[in-house]
């Protein structure tokens, strides 16, 4: 797509994503940080839709906003000290160092890649994605499901109370 519309949409989405990502960093309240994170995720979903990949955009919304952000919100709800100030920390200097290192790696990759624009991107439907996932990429798909099942069972085992353990031992 060319023209003013996509360009405008790109810059609006970029501003939205980056400003809210900055908000995640600078907001001192954990709840505000998570809400900014949600807006940032929505901006990324907008990029996917702008790049003619609506399926990925919606998957981004389902997974990142619907699942991960809500999970973080839940963690905040259930954490007693979540209302505390999110300001200074002893880990500020290592954090800055780590993010500079990460940025260096990313910049290296970005400048090193040969960027070419495809003339006519093929229309990839949800059916194509499903075919690829269940034929070419079936092994990673299955491994991911085993991992998720293990995580589910592990979390259930973690939250069992000692009383329940004792009850089960009696039976």
């Amino acid at each position: 797509m060319h023209g003013a519309g996509p360009n405008l949409a790109f810059w609006v989405l970029a501003a939205l994503t980056l400003v809210s990502a900055g908000g995640v960093m600078v907001s001192r309240n954990l709840l505000h940080a998570v809400l900014f994170l949600i807006v940032s995720f929505l901006g990324v979903a907008g990029f996917f839709i702008l790049l003619s990949a609506p399926f990925l955009g919606m998957a981004q919304i389902i997974i990142y906003v619907g699942a991960i952000a809500v999970l973080v919100l839940f963690a905040i709800l259930l954490t007693p000290r979540a209302g505390r100030d999110n300001g200074e920390t002893r880990w500020a200097a290592p954090g800055v160092l780590l993010s500079i290192a990460l940025m260096a790696v990313l910049l290296f990759v970005i400048t090193d890649t040969k960027w070419t624009t495809a003339k006519d991107a093929p229309e990839i439907t949800a059916a194509d994605l499903g075919q690829a996932l269940l034929s070419t990429w079936v092994l990673p798909f299955e491994i991911a499901s085993v991992l998720l099942t293990a995580a589910l069972i592990g979390s259930i085992m973690l939250v069992r109370s000692p009383e329940e353990e004792a009850e089960d031992a009696l039976q």
């Binding site: 709840l31 609506p54 998957a59 919304i61 809500v70």
Partner: protein, 381 residues
Amino acid sequence: MVDLSFGDTLFGFWNWVDAIIRILIIVIAMTVMVIYLTYGERKVVARFQQRLGPTRTGPAGLLQGIADAVKLVGKEDIRPHNADRWVFEFAPFATFIPVLMTLVILPFAKDWGVRNMTLGLFYVFAILGLNIVGIMMAGLGSGNKFALLGGIRAAAQMISYEIPLVLSLLSVAMITGTLNLNIIAEQQDRYPYIILQPLAFLIFFTAMLSELHRAPFDIPVAESEIVGGYFVEYSGIRWSMFQLSEYAAMWAFTVFGSIVFFGGWQFPKGGDWGWGWQLALTMGKSLTFIIAIMWVRTTVPRLRIDQLMSFCWKILLPLSLVQIIANAFIIVYGGEYWLLSLTSGIGAIALVAIIINRAFRRSTKTTGLVGAYRSLQVPAP
């Protein structure tokens, strides 16, 4: 074949004008619908309880909803002192926007919706996940323990029931072979999909009641337990935003359900008799659906939270998975459609039998509640 060209391109001036006009029509229709749904709910519930309901404002109380709307807009908008200002003020909008976004893709008549999306069904799943954020914002931002409890309850319930809801719709999508709601409606010209998938419909209906916080799943907004839930601190226009999004969500969900399971604008004779009949079919089906929801509300008492969760995770989720596996086998091995309706029908009978059995069973096993009430013994679910 339906025409897929309407509203297909993303950019362009006339395209935007077209979209804005369509959205305006939808918003006006939604507002009128919500005003008369509140009136209709009060009338229907009153009939079920042998009362009259609103009678004074206008003939048979017909102007009651409008009077209520005027009153709500005029009320003072109060913000508690210890509320989190921006979170508190944006929460009603964050609840309402996903509902409006759902209305955008529903085809109310043949080829008439705001936009026709190839991934319509998937889009609905994605937008459903956004709804929780607004409710959590209201719960957390109010600075009120009751609102917080309501928010936690709503989020836990909506996350749990989203899974059977999506799985039941997926089992229909396996038969349709498309995610486009317009095509899904068009395919049901001879019989609606509820005949092929009665179990999926029962699961969808139950999960829908839960997503809409309607009785018997109205735990997040239970007045007698937590004085109204996550919107307890809201008043005036912001409270009415929550009310608006609740009723608009009910309307959107019922239109969506009638498209997926009852043939929407197509069944019966929708393709032949013009758009008036199609619109009448869609609205008639969704109103029947809504009256069924109100009927359930006045009939069944509220569930306890552990009953709610065990019903979702131990009954609805396994049954919906079994349905998907059965569908997969039948479709892959080229089975006939009557086989689909047979397996799903057996599942539906099993679900009803389980519910009746549990309702009449005298429980001998007891279990402790969690947390501070652990010593209390209640009948095991």
